[in-house]
Subunit: 222 residues, 2 copies
DNA sequence: ACCTGAACACCGTTCAAGT
DNA sequence: ACCTGAACACCGTTCAAGT
């Protein structure tokens, strides 16, 4: 799909009625209002007011649409003012990325990419790698530090989004409650002792704390 | 679905032709040979030799089947011999869990649970929580340590499985290669300098290294 | 109690044709 | 060049009926 030339001279063929931006906007509305499970090509086409197959002229398919959507939300994240101290810079950057994505539970589905490749989000790996090198890491170790932070961050978002979804549409007592009710204290004494506190403790948002521990482990204080 | 009574006396109704175990076995064969994207209720029914709707008498639906499948693979993990030293115990336990799941890329889809709740895998949180407490953590902090390790572990598995899948069925140069080819060295100097090394560095298996850093950050040396 | 067949309400995507 | 309609090859699940 190529960008139309800025010239207003007549070009051959039928003039476009919908653009890629229209499609991404429509998809964004669906996903924010109805959740990612309702993001179907047919639903997007209806929202944009065209035939399902019209989308394929502007977008490769559902998978690419999801990637464009991730890029769209990443654009909202203006790289924040970051502290000068390298480790604090990493913490601040990762926290900003996490906060944005945690607000949009649907990104979890789009996040199964080995790296965060949205052009609008590349400042994040850049920042982490740069800060790690500034702190004394080799380039190899800096990339390793970034990846470790990214796995933790993405894992937290994906898993907590799934838990929230389950809480939303599960009416019956959750599997977790059942499992914890039947624990044998002789086999699993710690879990049995925790009992109902487990649910409460795992519902807490401890991303920031875990992140700090991770950064400290990756870049130990000198 | 209830377990049939051990008695051999005639019970009312039609005798069962398939069991839940048959279904799980069939699903396991499909998933190991053809990937999770081919795990459909209809495909499982064909594999087990019955009508699609017969499955619903033994299993609540596709989601529960995936959970049963996860439990099935977790059973293969006999809790390994664990070192006595608490931090090493955590590292050994997490490494064993990671190694098993990394061998079965399909578990990534089943892993979007807020905790690992398969009865056969509960020794894992038990071990981590117990070791953290033995190291001096409060129960709250021990649960926090477990969750942080779990987010990192699950994130690593999910994201690397997705990357492997993309490498497998992507013929064209990947999006990553495109993005990295067009980096502006003035805006993103570190990433531009890394260039093609990025792909090589992110393909490495560094789970164990990241895990050690995480454990050190969570349970600092005394 | 367990299984079946037909049906419902969907999917993503290809293909050939229209403007 | 861009859009459409019809069609293909699927889904998960409900429902009513059979054994």
């Amino acid at each position: 799909v190529r960008v139309p030339a800025p010239s207003s001279r007549a070009r051959p063929g039928r003039p476009p009625r919908i653009s890629r931006a229209d499609i991404v906007d429509a998809a964004r509305r669906i996903v924010d209002r109805e959740g990612v499970q309702n993001l179907t090509m047919r639903r997007v086409a209806a929202e944009v007011g065209g035939a399902p197959m019209a989308l394929y002229h502007h977008v490769r398919g559902r998978e690419q649409l999801l990637t464009l959507l991730l890029d769209d939300v990443a654009r909202e994240l203006v790289a924040p003012d970051l502290p000068a101290e390298p480790r604090e810079r990493i913490v601040a950057a990762a926290t900003a990325v996490h906060a944005l994505f945690a607000h949009h539970p649907w990104v979890a589905e789009a996040l199964t990419a080995d790296d965060l490749l949205s052009p609008a989000a590349l400042w994040f790996p850049e920042t982490v790698v740069d800060a790690a090198i500034a702190y004394g890491a080799t380039p190899e170790d800096a990339v390793h530090a970034y990846r470790t932070i990214w796995y933790y961050t993405a894992g937290e978002i994906i898993i907590r989004a799934a838990a929230a979804r389950r809480r939303a549409d599960d009416t019956a007592p959750t599997l977790r409650d059942q499992v914890f009710a039947e624990l044998d204290p002789r086999q699993l004494p710690r879990l049995a002792a925790l009992g109902p506190r487990w649910a409460e403790l795992t519902a807490r948002d401890t991303y920031a704390r875990g992140l700090r521990a991770l950064v400290e482990g990756l870049l130990p204080e000198r």
